[in-house]
Amino acid sequence: MHASAYEVLASAASGTLSSFWLLIVIPAASGGILLLLGRRADRWGHLLGCASVGVAFVLGLVYFFQLGGLPATDRRATLDLFTFIQVAALKVDFGLLFDPLSAVFVLLITGVGFLIHVYAVGYMADDPKRRTFFAYFNIFVAAMLLLVLGNNYVMLYIGWEGVGLASYLLISFWYTRPSAATAGKKAFIMNRVGDAGLAIAIFVMFANLHTVSYDGVFANVDRFTSGTTLALGLLLLIGACGKSGQFPLQAWLPDAMEGPTPVSALIHAATMVTAGVYLIARSNPIFDANPTAQAVVAAVGAVTLLIGCIIGCAKDDIKRVLAWSTVSQIGYMFLGVGLGGGAYALAIIHLLAHGFFKAGLFLGAGSVMHAMNDQVDIRRFGGLWKYMKITWITFGVGWLAIIGIPPLSGFFSKEPIIAEAFDRPGWAGWVLGFAALLGAGLTAFYMTRLFVLTFHGPERWTDDIKHPHESPPVMTVPLMLLAIGSAAAGALMATPVQDWLNPTVFGVEGGEVPEHVHLSHTVVTILSIAITVLGGLLGWWLFRNGTSLQEQPAGPVVTAARKNLYGDTVNETVFEKPGTYLTRALVYFDNKGIDGLVNGLAAAVGGGSGRLRRAQTGFVRSYALSMLGGALLVAVAFLVVRLG
């Protein structure tokens, strides 16, 4: 499809673009200031936090237009700030790269990030640690920007770990709650599994090519054996799965909802969890070189999108439903990047659209929780549309966008991925295509269920809720802006983003029309709209009169879905239990074996010397006798040796 080898362009940043390192430094500095000043910054900390991201967004726009002003073939700017590591053959520059792919991520991170920062000012208003929250939030933004702006894998890895740290700190932000502390640890540990894959991938690159820079690696992909590219692809995929909550490392993401809702919106919906998609899209020359690795990526995406949908249908916690929906939508993106070629750009478009509507949905959920005394059980919501009109409308826009009703953004971003999946030759096309299509129907079902149960039907509130209230403007304005983005972004972005990304980043020539292998694009469009509407209607029909207040006994499928398809159970049985038993055995051996030996030896020496001590009588003459005896003994021994 695209045979163009990766070309290294001479591209040192010049003019205004030479200062794009400011994008990272400004939020990082703000986060540092907030942490260092401590309580002195409590009164204005949140303002500085918002302002730094706002400034980064404005700068991002300036750089974006600067980049757009360049001719399409050399739209990239690199900056080598300083040598970061130099040991023998290993030389890593602190180098940054601003190209079309980084640029769209920068705009997403700072733009959506800024709106969520503003929202958090209202959401966290009553929290005594609001300043700390904003410090972590800023550090997250800085790390995420470093992740997408690095020009080599080590820079990416630093950002990767930085966002992991920020994610951990923010999930367990309310660390006095045991569930939040546990969720933070779970996220961190499962991410480490993925990080190990990424780290090993970097080692493999260095071992083979003695470089870790994007340019150096991608220009020499043909020097890898096919085994190496497969290993690299799978290792990178493990890293991506860990960070993006994809099968088999998906279990941490829903638990991450223990964090404050803005965290769920920014980190666990819009930006950080899409880092895996970025990693694979950025490493496209490696994946293009090995169709097997690509197929695995697509398969992981298809499996995950179904897992997310199925579990999403069975959950009653508003944030968990959205979390599983995130897992599922990122599955679509993985499917996209796994299909390769023109689908890379489609995945990125879905990523951007998802950033808008999922952030909007999460913030809407936060607004609902605000009105309902922080309850999250959708069985106890209902009829809220009368009381919170803005939240209702903005959430409704997000709902229509995610299920893909035209002309909202989800339609323009998701439907092409489904079509592209059908275009894969052979049986794989049918399997991937139908998985994606089924996922679209399920998405429509569970999102409609969520929407109807929350905002419509009878009021099933708990007794302590008398008058739900709309959130303050500082929260509703970001909701409205995100809703506008969710509604419009798809139609506006689809074509320009493809034109923007394809030639430079993915090496796909414009105007390439993929051949339709199984079904024509029109058929796929009609099918996907039909299944979406069907799922939506079914969701509305089943839940139009509310639902029972308690969990009802259900068949094996629903029970399995309620238990996250036994993902946690598998992890527990396969990894956790044997580990626990092993450590218990080791502790027992340590206590009884090693400690027993050491303690026994010490006790023997102590007891023996206690007895020997009795020889110290304090009588000089007895000492004299023993000395004489000793001297005689020596003399006798001497004589025996000499004469004997």
Partner: protein
Amino acid sequence: MEPGYYVVLAAVLFTIGAVGVLIRRNAIVLFMCIELMLNAGNLALVTFSRINGTLDGQIMAFFVMVVAAAEVVIGLAIIMSIFRTRRSASVDDANLLKY
């Protein structure tokens, strides 16, 4: 005269000193017994020096004398101060330093 007799004399003197140290309690007597042992050692050194026809033993005897003199000074001072505080010169009474 046969030098061997001096060796026997030294051995006898040393034995007398050693037995004195073991059986007497008075610190002064004990001290004199130690001196007797040291001088028995000196006598043996000088005798062997004579037998071997070298001066090493005689020089060594001078060192022993010097050490013995210094030891007497310190030892007597210790005995004096013990006697002043405890009104006793018996070595068996000074037995506090034990297990």
